[in-house]
Symmetry: C2
């Protein structure tokens, strides 16, 4: 299974492409960081991000896309930009007809380090080891995107299947209530 | 000038198309609300929004797109969805090669009511009057999108020109410092 992971960001958006099957060592295909200029108009920045992500999806032909879920944190204005970028990232996968799965930062950390509260250095260190790399991928946005892709492979699409089953059950329940 | 205004939202996204020139009565071309099902996957929802917005842009051929800027408010999870929708909205204009301008809610309110703190009812009432309609547009999301379009027409692209000039001046300054 080939997965394209996206760590969404407006100024720096990490993209990691990994191949593998659950429980086996994963193989690095490539990683990238898409930069957009903070001085540019938001429309230009989102357009550039969309264009670059579409090109990477077309180039690598992943079977699915994993995107980090965005939470409101300290810096509200940064979070708004990140959320807009994440919308564009999810859309890039959906427009290519691919299944898109989102993961919280702690799900990703737990998948690659065993701890949902692991630090950035630990995640980078484990990504380096899990992909059998000689040196850690730089910058950190790329490592996070690779961790997302590994997380998705190892969870083997389980989460997507559970979510789909849940959604179906809920729709049936509401249907029955009518 | 024909403007397509978008009041971004994930569950309900208002779209209003208005024609006019600064200082004259504006003409309503059409208004819409794009709905997506909260039970659906985020990827499906953003894809549907993208498809509908692209279709409305293609149908109405506006000269520019105005999108409401999103702020973090009380309900953080709703705001994240709204921000993702706003990213898709801005992108819809940019992908069609159109200038996209964002306005804060208070800029829009001030433009149509004279007060940046006007309530929803007052905005709807003014939109009805300014477009010479017999009845207020429903639902409110549509009225807000129409107010955005009117705001953009009345400000006559001034803001976009000022922003472009500012950005250029800043780039020149930094160039000179090197």
């Amino acid at each position: 299974m080939r997965v394209l992971g996206i760590d969404p960001g407006l100024t720096r958006c990490g993209v990691g492409v990994v191949e593998g099957v659950p429980g086996r060592q994963c193989k690095l295909i490539g990683y990238y960081v898409v930069y957009t200029d903070p001085d540019d108009d938001i429309a230009l920045r989102l357009l550039r991000l969309d264009t670059e992500l579409a090109a990477l999806v077309a180039e690598h032909k992943p079977e699915s896309v994993a995107v980090e879920r965005v939470f409101a944190q300290h810096n509200v204005q940064t979070v708004m930009g990140t959320a807009q970028a994440s919308g564009v990232a999810v859309l890039a996968g959906a427009r290519a007809g691919l299944p898109v799965q989102t993961y919280t930062p702690s799900e990703v950390k737990a998948a690659v380090t065993g701890s949902g509260t692991a630090g950035k250095a630990q995640v980078t260190s484990m990504v380096t080891r899990l992909l059998g790399l000689d040196a850690p991928p730089r910058p950190a946005d790329a490592a996070d995107a690779l961790a997302l892709a590994i997380c998705h492979i190892w969870r083997g699409g389980t989460k997507a299947r559970i979510e789909a089953a849940k959604a179906k059950a809920m729709k049936n329940m509401r249907g029955a209530r009518r």
